[in-house]
């Protein structure tokens, strides 16, 4: 590693002040599972200063508020898995957290770090996108809230400006308990990046799909939605065949690449299979009343 300065931020304001002071010369450090690899092995010059936010209380923890479920950016994947609130109102996010790296990495790696690294295969992205999540960003000019979809710009690129900090993620109240499924397919069961991952959410009241959301990872420069598949499902009776067809449509919306891990064709096939499995998992989580109407 090349030398860099280090400051432990006391709170969000302190972190933002440091980020504003150093501009492009500053890097935020949360769990370090991505940043440490960068600091050790990147050919680029090191940051002037690393701003450690891993002890900023305001950015830690999971809480139900009037607005919905708020998850602080430095909440670890391990804490998400353990959270009884997440298990209850958003189990698909715990599913995703449970397949990120291995247990030791999950105890360090944070939700905010996962979103901010912004690789297309990030496992937290699809579920949160399928639940219309929003993110709070703090900067020198104050705070702003944007839809998560507007955070993702390209591989390893977000819309955050130098001097800005991701504070928390909010899933709006109306989407808590929305039936949702998450699926990941990697080359091994443990410790493998997703060849494809996906999430789907939908209400299934009266035996009909409503407000369906389908999100796909690792098949485009950023995590994307599949609007045609969503439009196909909206208002349609819940059936296995409709779920399979939504998967086939989503596969046409994916823009995967061929690399050493898998071919584009294989990834496309995976999209069809995983989207269907996500919808089946979502149905499994629908309330008994919803399920009865669907059968």
């Amino acid at each position: 590693m090349k030398p860099f300065g280090y400051v432990a931020a006391k709170d969000c304001e302190h972190a933002v002040a440091l980020l504003a002071q150093y501009g492009k010369g500053a890097r935020v450090l949360a769990g370090g599972t991505d940043l440490l690899a960068d600091l050790k092995f990147s050919p680029h010059p090191p940051p002037e200063v690393v701003v450690d936010v891993s002890r900023v209380k305001e950015m830690k923890g999971i809480s139900l508020t009037d607005a919905g479920l708020r998850i602080g950016a430095i909440t670890t994947h391990g804490e998400i898995i353990e959270s009884s609130v997440v298990q209850q109102v958003m189990p698909a996010l715990a599913d995703a957290a449970g397949v990120i790296g291995a247990h030791q990495t999950r105890n360090l790696g944070t939700l905010g770090g996962n979103l901010m690294t912004c690789v297309p295969s990030m496992d937290s992205g699809p579920t949160l996108l399928a639940l219309d999540a929003q993110v709070t960003i703090a900067g020198p000019a104050g705070r702003r809230t944007i839809p998560l979809s507007e955070l993702f710009v390209g591989p390893r690129r977000t819309s955050l400006q130098p001097g800005e900090l991701l504070v928390d993620v909010l899933v709006p109240k109306e989407n808590l308990n929305k039936p949702t499924g998450f699926q990941k397919f990697g080359l091994r069961k443990g410790q493998a990046l997703a060849l494809v991952n996906a999430a789907a959410s939908a209400w299934m009241n009266d035996g009909l799909f409503s407000e369906p959301r389908i999100a796909l990872g690792a098949v485009a420069p950023v995590v994307i939605r599949a609007p045609k598949a969503e439009a196909y499902l909206a208002g349609r009776p819940v059936s296995e065949e409709a779920m399979a067809e939504a998967g086939r449509i989503a596969a046409t919306e994916a823009k995967p690449i061929t690399d050493f891990r898998a071919s584009a064709e294989y990834r496309r096939d995976l999209v069809a299979v995983l989207v269907k499995r996500c919808l089946v998992a979502a149905l499994g989580r629908a309330t008994p009343n919803q399920k009865e109407l669907a059968s």
């Binding site: 450090l29 370090g32 599972t33 440490l36 690899a37």
Partner: protein, 170 residues
């Protein structure tokens, strides 16, 4: 350079001047001469560097030492000594849970944490019933130990050692 104070294996440690670049792993090995914790990949992928921080297992190669001011660190040296082995260390010896031994300190730290996590009711993604205490099945052990790679392939003996300490048949 920075000052760092933390507790390692029950002993308060003050490092008057530590380079901010030092990982927790390098601080333990090179500054405190606790060479039980091993460096395998230095990337977070092998688990050889697993230590417990405030009781939680992490990859010490992925964390800067200066992030651990005030923390309580436990390494393999803190679990037991050659004369007074930790039950997990003794079970690894009995079951031949290693060959070359390079991954072993990380395996044992992880194994101790796994049993504590199970006892605390922490689910994993292979746990079927999230409401009940996770059962310590072969599948649960293998999933929970998936961050500890053993190049010699001692996996089945490691599972046996853990099952013995937990008092179950895996």
């Amino acid at each position: 350079m920075m000052k760092l104070s933390f507790e390692v294996n029950g002993t308060p440690c003050d490092l008057a001047e530590i380079d901010t670049r030092t990982t927790l792993l390098d601080a333990l090995r090179e500054h405190l001469r606790l060479t039980g914790t091993k460096k395998g990949c230095d990337h977070g992928q092998c688990g050889a560097c697993t230590v417990l921080v405030n009781g939680t297992r992490i990859n010490s190669c992925l964390s800067l030492a200066v992030q651990h001011h005030g923390d309580r660190i436990t390494t393999i040296e803190g679990l037991g000594t050659p004369g007074a082995l930790h039950p997990m260390q003794a079970a690894f010896v009995r079951h031949d849970g290693y060959q070359c031994g390079y991954c072993t300190p990380g395996q044992i730290c992880s194994a101790v944490a796994v049993l504590a996590e199970i006892e605390a009711g922490v689910p994993s993604h292979v746990t079927a019933d999230l409401g009940a205490a996770p059962p310590l099945t072969n599948l649960e052990i293998r999933e929970r130990m998936s961050g500890n790679i053993c190049r010699c392939g001692a996996y089945s003996n490691i599972v046996d050692a853990m099952a013995e300490v937990a008092g179950v048949k895996a």
